[in-house]
């Protein structure tokens, strides 16, 4: 039986917001995982701050509504404390690639077993329309009324270079791909990043633009770093080239929490241990 996984929180996204697709896809992915035996209490959703991050209020699972840019370190702390948990971190592109850039690079570098879902609408929504790290050159936002003077970053290229072991892209107009990728990303052991070209209907409506250009990756060897890099570089978040969706890269590698396992067994009463240290101090 499918659980609704909803909460009583009033949804405050704009009608037509691309976040609804992510919400539906993550609920579907979690339900599917529950069917396969994943206890829902083992799931923790973490978010930063922004429209995207409201998602934790809308899903009836454990969650930490953290700070802008700081979902990843919060998620890392959770995973290190309880490695048996499935930790999913949601953030927008300003949150994940701007304010929190250092953290996502380090999460990839460490290959910590968490899933980062970036709601990449390439605009700040909740702060009412400013450019983000993935906005194209010349983007006219409220802080750049005459257009930006900087190129966007290609976040997936950065993630591949940083050591992420699962890299994928979806859009809010492709629910089936999203469901599949989310589920796979959550099951992947290691740092998984899913960049979702989600659309902000109010400040940067790109539905038509994406619909014309997206295609699903076929005959792509996701285990091949060079192929992955080539496909990731096909679209640089600035030009008008075709935009690939699907899994660019997937690799098995040791995770941070495996390497970080506590050095010794948990000891409740440390009185004797402290006495040892005292005795050794002479």
């Amino acid at each position: 039986m499918k659980k609704d996984l909803g909460t009583y929180a009033t949804n405050t996204w704009c009608p037509g917001c691309g976040n609804f697709a992510i919400l539906n896809a993550i609920k579907a992915a979690l339900n599917s995982l529950a069917d396969e035996g994943l206890p829902m209490e083992n799931v923790v959703m973490v978010s930063g701050i922004g429209c995207s991050s409201k998602i934790v209020d809308y899903v009836n699972v454990n969650s930490v509504y953290s700070l802008h840019g700081r979902g990843i370190p919060t998620a890392t702390g959770i995973k290190l404390a309880k490695p048996e948990l499935k930790v999913i971190s949601h953030a927008g592109d300003g949150d994940g690639y701007g304010e929190g850039l250092e953290h996502i690079v380090f999460a990839a570098k460490r290959n910590v077993d968490i899933t980062a879902i970036i709601h990449d609408n390439r605009v700040y929504g909740l702060t009412t329309g400013q450019y983000t790290p993935t906005s194209p050159l010349g983007f006219k936002g409220r802080s750049t009324p005459f257009g930006t003077e900087e190129l966007p970053i290609n976040p997936l290229e950065l993630m591949l270079a940083s050591g992420a072991t699962y890299i994928a892209r979806g859009t809010s107009h492709g629910l089936d791909i999203l469901k599949k990728i989310f589920k796979e990303a959550i099951l992947h052991k290691g740092f998984a990043i899913v960049d979702v070209l989600q659309v902000c209907v109010t400040y940067y409506n790109m539905y038509e633009y994406y619909d014309k250009r997206v295609y699903e990756l076929k005959d792509h060897d996701a285990s091949d770093f060079n192929q992955a890099m080539a496909k990731i570089r096909e679209w640089d978040y600035n030009s008008d080239s075709p935009i690939a969706l699907g899994v660019f890269y997937k690799k098995e590698a040791p995770t941070f929490e495996d390497r970080m396992a506590p050095a010794g067994p948990k000891i409740k009463d440390r009185t004797d241990k402290i006495k040892e240290v005292l005795d050794e101090s002479f």
Binding site: T7, E41, V56, V64, L67, P73, A81, V105, F282
Partner: protein, 550 residues
């Protein structure tokens, strides 16, 4: 002699730090109580580094300007410190590189002939020192083996040559009292956290608190704890909240600059009720300031850091035993009341070494948090009389556990409702009221010296040692508030009954505790302030107090 000071000085890289620990160990084995003051520049090799090791029959926690023994490994050690020499002081120096009066030992020659490296210089001069003050070779041998196990042989060779060349000069007598181990403030605070059940320590290196990171990382296996060094202090604080969400007991450590980066996480810790203990080792600012020196400048910063209004526990221990004891209290209180705690230390306390008497630092029972009774549906932020919401720990099949940095309802769902906003703010602040009440059972303010004196020295943190010793000599009373938030006003007022003159002694330029006290409606009559990065010496404080009392 039953109270003496030994200064050892040389270039950074000569092993001054280890050398001073070896001297402290030798003297501890003779029954002395020791205190080490460390003075070193922010560089890896070169510069001038010195430490003053004080050994006394009674517990001490302050350095003296006058030294009985000077061990000079370079010319600077003579030139910069000869004014500190007492009459008839013993000077031992490396005659190959230093010109001085006293006992010259050709250390360079010994090192060369024994094919030893530069760093063995410290062991060599300690060899000469032992002979000069009548410490038996066997004691030195044991100490060298303990401190330099890998290169014990070569170090013992050079030490023995210097030992044989030196002449007896003064006699340090062995004392008949129990021997005490010695620890730095950093180590003591670490042990306190461990005792109280610490699960994880997270820190980014920053003087003067990095030694906690090193100590706990080295001891992680023994204690069964995790020690993590993340990419920044921002990450440190946020990882800590993640661990706290899982019910772990977690602490972080830094200095002022790193604490600046932790403040958004501090406020989050308070709002989401994810308890984190922060060890804040003060060093002089503003900004990068004097990285390896000392001050007491973050009292107001730490009291008010973080956006919004929230309850916090803040404590400023004054010596090793207090670091051990109050670190336990901090972890306990943070866990029980689900709020952030700050342990304020400073470089003098954190990196100073003290004889450690467990009898003075009673171990407290490990406290577990209040847990959900499973009788009613789980609400992470259940509004209770005490403000403490019972915890369910993830994963729990019967509970959805939602933590939130936004204002939230009892279930942890975001709200902007006016009435609920007030209710939840009141709930969180109420924890501070109950915390203050519980703290009435603790010795949050300490009194030393002449209880009948109507002149009171008001001190906090590392100034305890110097204030107590000088006050005892001058017949004055000392009051040391240890808990600074929630401020123990009643107990503090009690200690000041009948006082005619209240003199604040602080290592800052503005008198931060004095202004806190004045803000509470009590009058501080005089301030003795030192803000050159160095702690007060005994002689210096005595002189300044005499001036203030004139």
């Amino acid at each position: 002699m039953k109270d003496l000071s030994i200064l050892i000085g040389g270039k950074a890289g000569f092993g001054i730090d280890k050398g001073s620990s070896m001297i402290a160990s030798l003297l501890s084995r003779l029954g002395y109580r020791i205190y080490i003051y460390r003075d070193y520049p922010s560089l890896i090799r070169g510069g001038h580094t010195f430490t003053i090791i004080r050994a006394s029959e009674n517990k001490v926690a302050a350095h003296s300007d006058k030294v009985d023994v000077l061990l000079a490994l370079n010319q600077d050690a003579i030139n910069l410190h000869k004014a500190r020499l007492k009459e008839n002081a013993l000077v031992i120096y490396d005659s190959d590189s230093v010109k001085s009066e006293g006992t010259g030992i050709a250390l360079g020659k010994i090192l060369k002939e024994e094919n030893a490296t530069e760093i063995a210089r410290n062991t060599a001069i300690i060899g000469a020192f032992c002979k000069a003050v009548g410490i038996e070779w066997k004691i030195l041998e044991d100490t060298v083996k303990k401190y330099i196990p890998k290169e014990a042989d070569i170090n013992l060779k050079v030490a023995l040559r210097a030992y044989n060349e030196a002449k007896p000069a003064l006699k340090i007598v062995a004392l008949k009292q129990p021997l005490l181990p010695f620890f730095t403030g950093n180590e003591s605070a670490s042990l306190g956290l461990v005792k109280a059940g610490l699960d994880t320590y997270i820190s980014y290196p920053m003087t003067p608190t990095s030694p906690m990171l090193h100590f706990l990382a080295a001891q992680a296996e023994r204690f069964g704890i995790k020690v993590i060094h993340p990419e920044s202090e921002i990450s440190v604080m946020l990882m800590a909240t993640g661990a706290a969400y899982c019910g772990e007991k977690v602490a972080v450590g830094s200095s002022g600059g790193g604490f600046c980066l932790m403040t958004e996480g501090l406020s989050f810790s308070a709002m989401a009720e994810l308890p984190v203990v922060i060890v804040l080792g003060q060093r002089p600012g503003p900004s990068t300031g004097l990285p390896t020196y000392s001050c007491q400048t973050e009292l107001h910063f730490a009291l008010h850091a973080g956006q919004g209004e929230f309850a916090r526990f803040m404590v400023a221990p004054g010596d090793a035993e207090e670091c051990y004891y109050w670190a336990q209290v901090a972890l306990n209180m943070s866990g029980k009341y689900q709020l952030p705690s700050i342990i304020l230390t400073d470089k003098t306390l954190a990196e100073g070494t003290f004889s450690f008497d467990m009898n003075l630092a009673k171990p407290l029972p490990v406290q577990d948090p209040v847990l959900w009774d499973r009788k009613t549906p789980y609400k992470r932020y259940l509004n209770t009389d005490s403000g403490i919401s019972p915890l369910a720990l993830v994963p729990d099949k019967d509970a959805t556990i939602k933590a939130n940095s936004y204002e939230h309802d009892e279930s942890g769902i975001t709200t902007e409702d006016a009435a609920l906003t007030k209710t939840m703010q009141d709930k969180r602040l109420r924890k501070g009221v109950h915390l203050a009440k519980e703290l009435e059972e603790y010795e949050t303010v300490k009194v030393y010296g002449n209880a009948n004196s109507d002149t009171v020295i008001l001190c906090w943190g590392s100034n305890k040692g110097v204030s107590v010793e000088v006050a005892s000599k001058m017949g004055l009373k000392v009051v040391q508030p240890i808990v600074l938030e929630p401020f123990p006003l009643n107990r503090f007022k009690e200690t000041l009954k009948g006082v005619k003159k209240l003199i604040a002694v602080e290592n800052n330029a503005t008198g931060q505790l004095a202004s806190l006290i004045n803000g509470l409606g009590l009058k501080v009559d005089a301030k003795i302030l030192k803000y050159d990065g160095r702690p007060f010496s005994l002689e210096e404080l005595e002189e300044l107090l005499k001036g203030a009392l004139r």
